[in-house]
């Protein structure tokens, strides 16, 4: 478990044994069951997550309907907006599978960033990297149709299509479940 984390970190900065121990002493690993809700709308939270194994999902409830806007799988990090803004959360986070993740809170980060400047570099790099990734994703989304988005997802994250229920995928693609069904039928039609 810790090896997965340290292997990942080693891609960005190299940690000494002392630094590794500092992280381990924080006791950040947690195992959660499928269906667990990590964060509820309206709640305040200081927790940031990093998925080691499994999948968590971010969703809003708008007019009584669940709108899923993101999935986080292996090696993906999520700092909910409410952590930085210190306001109640606008959305929910739940586990779609049994999941192993790290949970850190802002105090811990401030403390460890103070002690080891290397962590600040790590945070900056991770945050810059996800920002860049996020921007490309957003651009792709804006410039393509639902059908192209689906095909693109099929290409880029085929695992998601297997592990996630259709109606959650649909809102992730910005459409209704019925439209996703239809769209898939349309694609099959074409390729025959």
């Amino acid at each position: 478990m810790k090896d997965i984390l340290f292997d990942f970190i080693s891609k960005y900065v190299s940690l000494t044994e002392e630094e590794k121990n500092a992280i381990l002493s924080l006791d950040i690993f947690r195992t959660v069951k499928k269906g667990t809700i990590l964060l509820k709308e309206g709640q305040k939270s200081q927790e940031a997550y990093f998925v080691l194994k499994g999948c968590i999902r971010k969703y809003y409830i708008i007019d009584g309907e669940e709108k899923t806007t993101a999935f986080y799988t292996e090696m993906e990090a999520l700092t909910p907006h409410c952590v930085t803004s210190k306001t109640p959360s606008e959305y929910n986070i739940s586990c779609i599978e049994d999941t192993i993740l790290t949970v850190s809170n802002s105090d811990m980060e401030v403390e460890i960033n103070g002690k080891f400047p290397k962590f600040e570099t790590l945070c900056r790099m991770l945050s810059e990297e996800s920002l860049a990734k996020q921007q490309i994703d957003f651009d792709m989304f804006k410039t393509s149709s639902p059908e192209q988005r689906y095909l693109n997802l099929l290409h880029k994250r085929p695992d998601l299509i297997q592990r996630v229920p259709q109606h959650q995928l649909a809102s992730y693609l910005g459409i209704k479940p019925q439209s996703l069904s239809r769209l898939r039928a349309r694609i099959l039609e074409k390729n025959s």
Copy 2:
């Protein structure tokens, strides 16, 4: 000009005179005319931008058509994807208005981050902040219709609707210029 920059930075970290001079010595301010192209598709670049006054726009050319995916106005920063990925740029950046901006390159950042850890903190904070903002924007985009997106933009960034040509706004909203025209007519209809 430099005051605008330092006022902005002071919201995040407080700089000593020495640090301010270190920044000024880099000679990063630049004034560019409307229409200037800062970055072209296919080009490699190490330059990051921060808009002090004016407006720049990011756009792709897909099937011969311009697709505008972002606008950056006063106090907004843009590090093009190609800078971090070190690959040729997928998109173009041009100035919609006469613009004053700072231009920094990665070497300068590495150098100054090394000398003054405070800059690393600043970069981390700015990057975390835009990531958070970006995520909320993306969520809003996914969960709303073109009409809602337009109304939302009218509410959140009314200035953009004034300063930006309609056809650029249209692709920013993920639709065609004709649809934006129609959609606006529809809204006027309703409110009468």
